[in-house]
């Protein structure tokens, strides 16, 4: 009923290949974009924007990056945190070396640099697979974080190792980083970056390159036999995934926390993004967003819930309970729906298509 596709005929190839071929999807996306660009900045408080929406957007981008690698190309990586750190530190070095360069180019360059690092650490994927590769990417995680911590050059020889992001503007008067930037401006900037990159990713995964990734993921040897070059496919997945994660790291450091420090990108950050991808849905662009929303919201809900029903709890205990609930929820969600929340939406769509008839 709500999702009736009957009567929506596709008469041209262009219509058949549209990103959102169904009218309802187009309307839905338009409404979401309208809310994101119009309603939220107009009505939301600064707290909501800077403590909920910004981490959500940053994590969505990181999850999108990991999803390209893991969900579409099937290469398990535990080095997400380190690649985010690469993006953050590269952006810091570039913007302090070239203060005149527009922050958008800084982010793009930082992403490109991270992509190069990602390709380097992706090289072992040509020889090794599965969990062996996962552990190999931990080498990236520990080595890169150690390097950013130890080598003072990355922090411009700051004594504390923690540095604040310098103020930068996208357009004159539209500051997006540094202490003078308002939460609304930061939000618009992050939202813009995420929207553009998500659209790119959506197009990428349904084009030739995305299909080669999926062929490699589903069966690499068969893919090789039908003429897909595994090296090109795997390394391009590593490069593009790292680009996304690098930009996410730069956004994290510049737009969300306004500080650049290596400790923010430890191995737990890698796991956090991995959870988002798995809970949201492997191999789904929508899933990256759903997973990010879930993991960002969950700790806040757990922290607020006892107080809301009038139970006073120790913060340390609350922290432990948060871990417990998160762990249990991950297992429960995996058991209930191993394909993640994106699959739930898919099931919902099927139901809506048939509603009100059960069959």
């Amino acid at each position: 009923m709500f999702y009736r596709e009957a009567g929506q005929f596709k008469a041209t190839y262009a219509a058949d290949q549209a990103i959102f071929p169904i009218l309802q999807d187009k309307i839905g996306i338009a409404i979401i974009l309208a809310i994101a660009f119009g309603v939220i900045p107009a009505f939301a408080s600064d707290y909501f924007l800077s403590s909920l929406m910004l981490p959500f957007l940053v994590f969505s981008l990181a999850a999108l990056g990991l999803n390209i690698l893991l969900g579409y190309c099937g290469q398990l990586s535990l080095g997400t945190g380190a690649f985010m750190a690469c993006g953050a530190f590269f952006a810091y070095k570039i913007t302090t070396a070239f203060p005149e360069l527009n922050i958008i180019f800084v982010f793009l360059l930082a992403g490109a640099g991270t992509a190069a690092v990602g390709v380097f650490f992706g090289l072992p994927s040509l020889r090794i697979k599965g969990f062996y590769l996962a552990v190999a990417t931990l080498a990236a995680q520990f080595f890169l974080i150690w390097m950013f911590n130890k080598v003072d050059w990355w922090t411009n020889f700051s004594p504390s190792g923690v540095i604040s992001a310098p103020p930068r503007e996208v357009l004159p008067g539209f500051a997006v980083t540094g202490s003078s930037a308002t939460p609304v401006d930061r939000y618009y900037f992050a939202l813009g970056v995420v929207c553009v990159l998500a659209l790119l990713a959506k197009n990428m995964v349904r084009s030739r390159i995305g299909r080669t990734w999926m062929a490699i993921r589903d069966m690499d040897i068969a893919a090789e036999i039908i003429g897909i070059r595994p090296m090109a496919a795997k390394l391009s997945a590593f490069a593009i995934s790292s680009f996304y994660i690098g930009v996410a790291g730069a956004l994290w450091a510049f737009v969300y926390t306004s500080s650049v420090e290596a400790l923010a990108f430890d191995i737990n950050r890698s796991f956090q993004v991995l959870f988002m991808v798995i809970i949201g849905g492997l191999g789904s662009i929508l899933g990256s967003f759903l997973g990010a929303a879930f993991i960002v919201l969950l700790p806040i809900i757990i922290n607020q819930a006892p107080a809301a029903v009038g139970i006073v709890m120790d913060t340390a205990l609350l922290g432990h309970i948060e871990f417990m609930v998160l762990g249990a929820l991950i297992i429960i969600i995996l058991i209930a729906e191993p394909h993640g929340m994106a699959r739930l939406w898919q099931i919902g769509k099927e139901k809506l298509r048939l509603w009100p008839f059960p069959h």
């Binding site: 893991l70 398990l76 072992p124 020889r127 090794i128 697979k129 599965g130 969990f131 062996y132 996962a134 552990v135 190999a136 931990l138 080498a139 995680q141 520990f142 080595f143 150690w146 130890k150 080598v151 069966m219 040897i221 068969a222 036999i225 191995i267 796991f271 991995l274 959870f275 798995i278 492997l282 340390a316 205990l317 922290g319 432990h320 309970i321 948060e322 871990f323 417990m324 609930v325 998160l326 762990g327 249990a328 929820l329 991950i330 297992i331 995996l334 058991i335 191993p338």
Partner: protein
Amino acid sequence: MIEALFITPFVEIAEYPYFFLEVLISGLLTGVMYSLVALGFVLIFKASGVFNFAQGIMVLFAALTVVGFMDYGAPAWLAIILTAVVMVGLAFGVERYVMRPLVNQDHIIMFMATIGLAYFLDGFGQTIWGSDVKSFAFDLPRDNYQLLDGEVFVNQLDLLGGVIAALLVGGLAIFFQKTKIGRALRAVADDHQAAMSVGIPLNQIWVIVWSVAGIVAIVAGIMWGAKVTVQFSLSLIALKALPVLILGGFTSIPGAIIGGLIIGAGEKIAENFWGPALGGAIEDWFAYVLALVFLLFRPQGLFGEKIIERV
């Protein structure tokens, strides 16, 4: 820089051979401790193909439980037995509530579930036993032996760890090779379905391996806890066990031991002789980079099964 990396360390090794020997021995014995943690991984991977990320937390959890029972006044032997009961109970719980509902899922899903389990146990253990740093009340030998006219010191606790690990590995090898259950475990590892069709109960096998892994975790937890006190950072040692696994191969018990020795000795030597030139704390990543380089030449590890792919 070149000189500090390629010449000075060798000169130092040649000048102070006793110091080198001491570093080597302490590295090897630390490596044995890594092997203890790695063993738990190998057991579960061998018998169910599940990469159990929770093993490190299980080590922490076991150590916390032993200390917790002893704080309530239980003598050491009773605390260890009670902890063993808890770990077997945990094995039943994991089989019933995690493994069984997820049977036949992708390996990555199982892996994620064990990360979930790791988070759960982490929070659960600290909720029950508290998160402050604890140490064992019972006495383990901590003095140093002196070898070669007092030039080389060997820590007794490390040595004890080595002996216990050797006994454990010997016991596990006999268990896997000679007993009926061990044979069943190997059959399950080879092929789940074939094992089931000849009447091996998969669920029981899982309970057994998780129990054995839990008991290995107790041993590892006590040894590590005695060495570095029982606190959250103990679970990070599990991350050190991962390069050991890569080096040794995920399915090989001797591989876990030899991998542990190589990693332990390698990282201590690297830290002591090459560390200063690189700015120190290279222990954090040296093991991983060593394992990564090694993988490029031998993707299945030292003793891992060769991965044969058919189309």
